[in-house]
């Protein structure tokens, strides 16, 4: 950390934990202490961590449902407008009105799946505010091991309960190692 960086505003405090188990227990303590703006970082999703952090279910499922409904509607319009109105194509003498849904169904299904998948994929990154190329965490050298085998807990300075000294002591008290203050990068 260069001298210039120290003058920057504090982003938060990071602590390292030796294992998924200790991180899980620490997360429960942080949740119970009433912090709101904090996160745990791990190489893989830890089972039950949402509960330990007091987070509910991701709202993404509802967004994907809307995407799927959009796909379904698109397919229905794409099929019925040309087939019933623009160019009614009589094949095998079968009617082309709305009552002949079964042969139109496969395409409705496929587009429902297609738009749901796009919504799911892009939804993850939009909800996570990604892509983001710069983040204060990346300035913390040990953080590069988060995608390998390290576990971190970060409490951000925007949290109303944040205090540079008390939060540091709190993190050390719940077993955090290498507790470090992070500075915002612009």
């Amino acid at each position: 950390m260069s001298a210039a960086a120290i003058r920057k505003p504090v982003f938060g405090i990071i602590a390292e934990f030796p294992s998924a188990t200790t991180l899980y227990e620490a997360a429960e303590r942080v949740r119970d202490a009433g912090f709101k703006f904090w996160d745990v970082h791990s190489p893989f999703p830890i089972h039950g961590m949402n509960k330990a952090m007091g987070l509910g279910k991701s709202p993404l499922g509802y967004i994907i449902f809307c995407g799927g409904f959009l796909g379904f509607t698109t397919a229905a319009l794409l099929e019925f407008i040309p087939s019933s109105f623009l160019f009614p194509l009589i094949v095998h003498g079968k009617p082309v009105n709305f009552f002949t849904v079964p042969p139109f169904f496969p395409i409705m299904f496929e587009l429902t799946v297609l738009i749901s998948a796009f919504t799911a994929f892009f939804g993850v990154f939009i909800l996570n505010r990604l892509p983001r190329m710069h983040h204060p965490l990346f300035d913390h050298e040990p953080f590069s091991r988060v995608t390998n085998d390290a576990f971190f807990l970060v409490i951000e300075s925007v949290d109303p309960r944040f205090s540079e000294t008390a939060t540091r002591e709190f993190l050390e008290g719940i077993g955090g190692k290498e507790v470090t203050v992070l500075y915002a990068n612009d």
Partner: protein
Amino acid sequence: MAESDASTTAFVERMPRHPLVWNNHSMAWISDRIAGIVENKAPLWWWVTIAITSSFAAFGIFCILYLLFTGVGVWGNNIPVGWAWDITNFVFWIGIGHAGTLISAILHLCRQKWRTSINRAAEAMTLFAVICAGIFPAIHVGRIWMVWFMAPVPNPNWIWPNFRSPLMWDVFAVSTYFTVSVLFWYLGLVPDLATMRDRAKGRVSRTIYWILSFGWRGGNRQWRHYEMAYLVLAGISTPLVLSVHSTVSFDFATSLVPGWHTTIFPPYFVAGAIFGGFAMVLTLMLPARSLYKLHDVFTWDHIDVMCKLLLLTGSIVGYAYCMEFFVAFYGANPFERFAFLNRYFGPYWWASWTMFTCNVIMPQLMWVRAFRRNWAIVFFVSMCANAGMWFERFVIFVISLHRDFLPSAWRMYYPTWVDVFTFIGTHGIFLTLFLLFIRFLPMVAMSEVKSVLPESDPHYHPPVGGGEEPVEEAHA
């Protein structure tokens, strides 16, 4: 693996619950071993193999260009065999893809944690197989500049395509399948690309991985959405994978050709696709496992389970063959009866019996545990299944078409060299893409394998005393 006194050994002792990653490896070991494949210099065998496969690919592309510049007459297709190797190859390749989606989607929903070691490679295999499959419908139209007629847009005479045609369904099914497979695969890849980014030494490679990983930070607030998206993608891919081969089978089942016009086709095609796909996963992963020393990640237990799936799906396929034959007999339709007698005793009898032997009889070897744990036998059976599944499509398409209703319309089909080399060329394309994949991207989902280690359970406590292996906790 000797089991001489099996009768005296308790079941639990004979079949202990092994950890998914053998030999108590740490998370760092997993990262090093798998990312190391990409970071280290390519071994000699890789260069030799890709030289061979890319030569085949180049020749295959030459055959495709020759076809496009000359016309479909360079193939052996004729009347009545209007669909021959082109559609055989299309269905063969699209079927191969199904195992990848089964592993990534259906096994995820079933909480089959062993899938984590193979899902990445199997999904990549899916993508490359669907690319190979997609070549054939595009080029078999002959006049490639007309290929846009498959799109759901009106042609210059303002005639719209028939949305009730199975061929139109097929266009939507295959393109959706490919797109969803890419998204699913890439979503799984993002945390591993972040691992590659954090390990990268060079500035350029670091930047590239940074962009590819979207700046992933592994925070639980990110994982929360990620896991939901992964679950939903698995949920929608499950009916998708079942629908794709069903739709492919509708291309045939909705026609009136004897041998095609049966309701058994959708489940029979899906089972066959999964069978053929698992065989291809084994064909690719057995060598990759040895060459990259992944024995502790892709263990004998994985191979064992996949062999059982091969046995199951092979047996379903065998049941379908027999049931088709029985229904032809019982249905009292003389054309249908003839089609099935002609299938097994007509001029192409050798194709049908090859199919039956490779797909139904050979997988029965997998009943024996010792065979499931012998790589030579597993590899042999999976090669049989690969060949058998290609013959299955040949049998269904060509044999059914070459003698349909009127004997005056019968005609034999013989492939030309263009047919043969186009098919071999797609193998070249497939293997070249797969080799590039294992060279430039992590071939095992590192973050997922780490998540199934015993110590990844938040309620795990290391065993007290004794240096024994940690026992995997039964997870609700």
